[in-house]
C-alpha cells in the first residue's frame, strides 16, 4: 500500500435492495489532484460519492482510505479528513448562515466546548472566500436556492479538510458563482495540495478544471484517466450518446466541447439503460 494513495477502491459494488447501482469499480485516488466524475443521470455518481464519504456501506469490495478500511473510521475522525457538499441540502429550521457555517467546525470542537478562535477564524475565512459575509446573520429560510448552496459550500470550507467531495456543488448557481467556486476549488488543489473529487454535469467545466476524469456508465467505470486522453468525442458518444466536437480552445485555455444543437441529426436518443442503472437521488 503506497503512502501516495488517498483512496484505494477494489471491486466496489453497491445495490439498493435488489437493484444494482455500482458494479466492480476499482480505482485509486491520489492526493493533490482535482478528480471529476461524469456520466449520464442515474449512473451512480451520487452513490459513488456517498460510498467515498462513508455515508453508505459497500455491498461488495473494499474502500481503503489512507491505508485503512473506510468503515473502520469513526465518523468524527473521518469528518476531519473529508468534507461533503451534498446535492440537496436541508438547512434545518431557523438557523442563521453563520450558525450553519459554524456547523462545519463540529468535528473539530469537543462535545461541551465552545468554538475557539481558530474555529471563528475558519468561519470568517470561509464566508469571505465564498463572498457571503453580508448574509452572515440572515436566516437560511429567507435565502434563495443559490445563496443556500453557497452557504453549504462555505460550511464545507470551514470544515477545513484535506479532501473535498462536491456533489454538483454548483447546480443552482449562475455562471459567475459557478466559476468562483470552481476557481476556489482549483486554488485549494494547486496552492494547498488538497484533493477535490467532484460530480460534474457540465462537461466543459469538467474539461477545464479537472486533472483526472472517471466516466461512469450504467454503474461501471467506462473510461478513466487524464482529461486530454479521456475527454474525446468518442468517449462522449459512447457514454452519453451525443455527437460533439472536442478541441483545444485558446480563449478558454482548455479542451472544450461544442455540440450540434437543434434537430440536425446531431442529438440522438440516450441509450436505454440495460440492466444496470438507477436514479441519481435514490
Amino acid at each position: 500500500m503506497s503512502e501516495q494513495e488517498l483512496f484505494a477502491i477494489d471491486q466496489l459494488s453497491f445495490a439498493y435492495g435488489l437493484r444494482p447501482v455500482l458494479d466492480n469499480i476499482s480505482l485509486t485516488i491520489t492526493p493533490g489532484r482535482f478528480y471529476g466524475i461524469v456520466g449520464p443521470n442515474g449512473c451512480g455518481k451520487t452513490t459513488f460519492l456517498d460510498l467515498l464519504s462513508g455515508g453508505r456501506r459497500p455491498a461488495g469490495g473494499t474502500i481503503r482510505f489512507l491505508g485503512r478500511p473506510l468503515p473502520a473510521y469513526p465518523k468524527r475522525q473521518l469528518a476531519r479528513q473529508l468534507a461533503l457538499v451534498p446535492q440537496e441540502f436541508d438547512t434545518g429550521f431557523g438557523f442563521t448562515v453563520e450558525e450553519i457555517v459554524l456547523m462545519g467546525r463540529h468535528p473539530h470542537i469537543d462535545r461541551f466546548a465552545s468554538p475557539g478562535p481558530e474555529d471563528w477564524r475558519q468561519v470568517d475565512l470561509a464566508l469571505e472566500r465564498i463572498g457571503i459575509g453580508d448574509l452572515r446573520h440572515r436566516l437560511t429560510g429567507t435565502l434563495s436556492g443559490g445563496q443556500k448552496q453557497r452557504a453549504v459550500v462555505a460550511r464545507a470550507l470551514a470544515q477545513n479538510t484535506p479532501v473535498l467531495l462536491l456533489d454538483e456543488a454548483t447546480a443552482s448557481l449562475d455562471i459567475q458563482y459557478t466559476l468562483q467556486i470552481f476557481n476556489l476549488a482549483r486554488l485549494l488543489v494547486e496552492d494547498e495540495g488538497r484533493t477535490v473529487v467532484a460530480v460534474v454535469h457540465d462537461l466543459n467545466l469538467a474539461a477545464a478544471y479537472c486533472d483526472q476524469l472517471f466516466f461512469l456508465r450504467d454503474g461501471e467505470i467506462h473510461r478513466s484517466g487524464a482529461v486530454a486522453a479521456t475527454m474525446t468525442a468518442e468517449t462522449i458518444a459512447e457514454v452519453f450518446g451525443v455527437t460533439c466536437q472536442v478541441g483545444w480552445n485558446d480563449f478558454s485555455q482548455a479542451r472544450q466541447l461544442s455540440y450540434r444543437y437543434r434537430s440536425h441529426g446531431g442529438i440522438t436518443a440516450a441509450p436505454s439503460p440495460a440492466g444496470l442503472g438507477g436514479s441519481d437521488g435514490a
Partner: protein, 346 residues
C-alpha cells in the same frame, strides 16, 4: 455575536424557573381549602427536615392536604409537562418535522391501547401499577414495531418513521374503539383514563416521572449539538461527523421512554409536546442546547397552570387532556398561520 441570544436565554431560563417555583407555591394554596403561602413553606420545610415544631399552630388536616393530596398532583403535573415538552423537542429535531410529537409516532396510542386493555380486563395482577405498566409496555412495543417498519437497508428514515407511526397509531385507535365497544361497565373508566387526569397522583408516580425526566434530559442534552446538526439531513450530518443512525435510535428511545412514563402515569395529554417547543423556538431560536432546557421549564409551567385551572378555578373539573386540546388546538392554528405568513421563500 452570541451575546444577545445568550443573555436572552439566561434571562428566560431564570424567569421561567422563578415562575415555576412561584406557581407551585401558589397552586398548592389554591383549591377547596385556601392555604396561605407561609403555611405551605412551613409544611415543606418541616418535611425537608425542619421538624414537627413548625406545624404546631396549624390545623392538623392542612399538612395532610398539602403533602398527600395537592403536592403530588401539582409536582406530577409540572413534571409531566416538562417531560412531554422535552420529548417534543427531541421528536421534532429527529424527524425534521415541526409537527412531530408522541401522537405522530403512535407512542401515545400504543400506551393508550395498553392501558385500555388493562382496564378492560379489569387487570389487578400488579395491583395499583397494572394500568401504568400496561401503558408503558404498549408504548415501548409500539415504538419497536414502528421502528422496525421504517427500517430499510438497516437505516431508519425520518419520513417513513412518521408514516409508520400514523399507520400503527390508526390501527391501535381502532383497537381501542373495539375495546370500548366490548366493555360494558368499564367503558367509563377507559374513557376517563384516555382523557388524562392528575386526580389520582401519588408520590410514587411523581418519583417515576422525575426519574425518567432526569435520564431523558441528561441524554438529550448530551446529544443536543448532534441534534442541531441532524436537522441538516442525514447525508450532511454524517459528513459532519455525527453518528446519525446511532444517535437517532438512542434519542428516539429516550424520548419515547419519557413519553411512555408520562402517559402511563396520567393518561393522554396532547399538544404540550407540540406547542411548547414551537413557542420557545420563537424566543431562543432553533439551537437545541437552549431549546431543551427552556422548553422543559415552559412545559412544566404550562401544564401546572392548566391543571390548576381545571382543579381550582373552573366550577367543574374538566379532564386535563380535553382542556389542553381545547386551549392548545386553536392556539396552535394561530401560530401555524403566522409562521406560514412570515415565510418569504419556500
Amino acid at each position: 455575536m452570541q451575546q444577545g441570544p445568550d443573555k436572552r436565554f439566561l434571562l428566560l431560563t431564570a424567569s421561567l424557573l422563578a415562575a415555576l417555583l412561584l406557581g407551585i407555591i401558589v397552586a398548592t394554596g389554591m383549591g377547596y381549602m385556601a392555604i396561605g403561602a407561609g403555611d405551605i413553606l412551613k409544611i415543606i420545610a418541616s418535611r425537608l427536615g425542619g421538624g414537627e415544631a413548625l406545624l404546631t399552630d396549624l390545623e392538623p388536616t392542612i399538612p395532610y392536604v398539602v403533602l398527600e393530596v395537592r403536592l403530588p398532583r401539582i409536582l406530577t403535573a409540572a413534571l409531566v409537562g416538562a417531560g412531554l415538552a422535552m420529548s417534543g423537542v427531541v421528536y421534532q429535531g429527529i424527524l425534521l418535522n415541526p409537527l412531530a410529537d408522541p401522537y405522530t409516532l403512535g407512542i401515545s396510542s400504543g400506551a393508550a391501547f395498553g392501558a385500555s386493555l388493562a382496564l378492560f380486563a379489569n387487570m389487578t395482577l400488579f395491583g395499583h401499577f397494572s394500568t401504568p405498566l400496561f401503558a408503558f409496555v404498549g408504548a415501548i412495543l409500539t415504538l419497536l414495531v414502528v421502528m422496525r417498519l421504517s427500517t430499510f437497508n438497516g437505516q431508519i428514515s425520518a419520513q417513513t418513521l412518521i408514516l409508520s407511526g400514523v399507520i400503527v397509531g390508526a390501527i391501535l385507535s381502532a383497537g381501542i374503539s373495539f375495546l370500548k365497544y366490548l366493555a360494558d361497565e368499564q367503558v367509563a373508566i377507559i374513557i376517563f383514563w384516555l382523557m388524562g387526569s392528575f386526580a389520582a397522583s401519588t408520590w410514587q408516580g411523581t418519583g417515576l416521572v422525575a426519574a425518567a425526566l432526569l435520564v431523558g434530559l441528561l441524554v438529550s442534552l448530551f446529544f443536543s449539538r448532534d441534534l442541531n446538526i441532524m436537522s441538516l439531513g442525514r447525508r450532511s450530518s454524517d459528513a459532519l461527523g455525527v453518528e446519525t443512525a446511532r444517535v437517532r435510535v438512542l434519542l428516539l428511545l429516550t424520548a419515547s421512554l419519557v413519553t411512555a412514563v408520562c402517559v402511563a402515569v396520567t393518561g393522554i395529554i396532547g399538544f404540550i409536546g407540540l406547542i411548547v417547543p414551537h413557542l420557545m423556538r420563537y424566543l431562543v431560536g432553533p439551537d437545541n442546547r437552549r431549546l431543551l432546557p427552556v422548553s422543559t421549564l415552559a412545559g412544566a409551567l404550562l401544564l401546572l397552570l392548566a391543571d390548576t385551572l381545571t382543579r381550582a378555578v373552573l366550577p367543574v373539573e374538566v379532564p386535563i387532556g380535553v382542556l389542553t386540546a381545547l386551549i392548545g388546538g386553536p392556539f396552535f392554528c394561530l401560530i401555524f398561520r403566522q409562521k406560514q405568513k412570515a415565510r418569504s421563500y419556500e
